[in-house]
């Protein structure tokens, strides 16, 4: 079985969020990490490899420094790593990104494609389903459990108040929830292997069956009209009193505002 896992390097918005003195986001001070949902998807792929035997290829699109997350994936146990990078691919929205990654995946043999449900920088959850559409294969999003049954995957697909148990014929694409699998740590041997492994780098010329009209900033149907750091409502009053006084203070405020 051949599994392709799509991963993304993202700034760590979780816990490590840093602010400038003026309240705006300090991106430079934030760590770049493997997107958590993607990492859960990679772990699921590695568990399938352990269980059934599989070749796991990780693929990412980004700047050359995204090699870091590919190295991490190799050290966790992935077999091959591919970086898609080219200036003409920059500034892509989800349509252009998914068109590009789908073109990269067409260069590979695959039975199963796994992406994270969403990345913590854009939070769109769109690229996975859009890749599946470009490749004309089934997609199952929000997957919390996966098993293999011959040519089929059997997965649990999460909704608000239920989950569906679905059976889909491979090749297919699933998007992984964080709870799909708890990522393993890199092993010392894995790190040695990763350092020695070769990362395949593809530029625009390596992507066949991809229209120039569908790549990069120019090929993105959505355009940013305005972007700004969120201005948050300022802090209100904060008191540190003993419990009785604190409650009396709060009740006074609630009464003043006719809040209850």
């Amino acid at each position: 079985m051949k599994i392709v896992v799509c991963i993304k390097q993202v700034p760590d918005t979780k816990g490590g969020v840093q602010f400038n003195p003026d309240g705006t986001l300090n991106r430079a001070a934030m760590l770049a990490i493997m997107n958590p949902d993607d990492k859960a998807g990679l772990e699921a792929a590695l568990q399938l490899k352990d269980q059934y035997g599989a070749e796991v290829t990780v693929i990412t699109m980004g700047l050359p420094k995204a090699t870091d997350v590919l190295m991490e994936a190799l050290a966790m146990g992935a077999d091959k790593a591919i970086l898609i990078t080219d200036r003409v691919l920059g500034g892509a929205d989800t349509w252009a990104t998914s068109s590009t990654i789908a073109a990269g995946i067409r260069n590979l043999d695959y039975d199963l494609i796994i992406t994270g449900r969403q990345a913590i920088d854009g939070d769109t959850a769109q690229v996975g389903p859009q890749i599946s559409e470009h490749l004309d294969i089934p997609v199952i999003s929000y997957v919390q459990d996966i098993k293999i049954d011959g040519d089929y995957v059997i997965v649990q697909r999460q909704y608000d108040d239920r989950y569906h148990v679905l059976k889909a014929k491979m090749p297919c694409l699933i998007t992984a929830l964080g709870e799909l699998a708890e990522p393993r740590y890199m092993t010392p041997a894995g790190i040695v292997d990763a350092v020695n492994a070769e990362i395949t780098v593809w530029g625009r010329a390596d992507l066949k069956d991809l229209d120039d009209a569908n790549i990069g900033l120019a090929g993105s149907p959505t355009k940013i009209a305005k972007a700004s750091d969120k201005v948050r409502k300022g802090a209100g009053e904060k008191v540190e009193l003993d419990p009785k006084e604190a409650v009396a203070y709060l009740m006074g405020k609630l009464d003043e505002k006719h809040a209850i």
């Binding site: 986001l25 989950y163 569906h164 993105s220 149907p221 209850i260």
Partner: protein, 348 residues
Amino acid sequence: MNIQDYKGVYIFAEQVDGKLSGIAFELLGKANVLAKDLGTDVTAVVIGYEIKDLADQLAEYGADKVIVIDDPELKDYRTEPYAHALASAINEFKPEIMLVGATPIGRDLGPRVSARVATGLTADCTQLDIGDFPLNPIPGKEQKHNQLLMTRPAFGGNTIATIACPDNRPQMATVRPGVMQRQEKVEGAKAEVIEYNPGFTPNDKYVEILDIVKSVGEAVDIMDAKILVSGGRGLGGPENFQILRDLADALGGEVACSRAVVDAGWMPKDMQVGQTGKTVRPQIYVACGISGAIQHLAGMEESDLIIAINKDETAPIFDAADYGLVGDLFKIVPELTEAIKEYKAAKK
């Protein structure tokens, strides 16, 4: 693609088990505002099996037209038949705007459909307006009018971007539930009902549903609550949520929680507030033992009044709170519950 051919504001009226989801009414509310600005009308597309009777309800909440796609293949949500239904409707009826809820269904359906009809899609919008793109004229560049301007948070709620889709139609957005206001119900309102069926031929993309497992218990939707008492990691364990329930009962509200609590397995996922949970905007939000990660704030900061109780005076939740009480929640919360009860008794 001739952009002039695309007219009208359309919404995907999500239904589950033959019951319309709240987001359908919220989208109708916003669609009516947009349609008024554009001088056009509002169409709801409802997809399912044996769901024709939902058209009247959609009409009462603001649909001028309802396209009903009713087929046995559409009984329970599956990506492919639903994507085929909605994409076919888009190609047939040519809407200029197509709104979909940013729900676990819409966030799967939206991207698949947008890729199929080759247009842009903006995810998880929290604000929609009609305006110019670019916002201000740029010499040598055409400024297009009457564009859908889609505003959404990114970077876990740290940044806000406004996005347009000037050259493709429809302009598609998924919209975060709990943000848009539904409009007043008009009893007895009727819509023009159009029955449409593009034909469904199962193939490998029609995945098989082996089982549907519904979660039992809490039927309360925290998005509907006027008052929420929400607990975080500071509660220490699921057994300690009883004091929050007592406070919620005294206030006439419901209990919610942060992601940490769900991850720890203390509370079910449907009670989670935040970026990966639900967006709530109650009249009062009481955050107890919640540190206030940016992802949590993104789900509750539009609440009318925010009260934070936390023993760590540097917790970021205090930066979002109207009133912050630094101290031990296990002492303050029961005290507050009693004070609320007395206050209410005195008012009667």
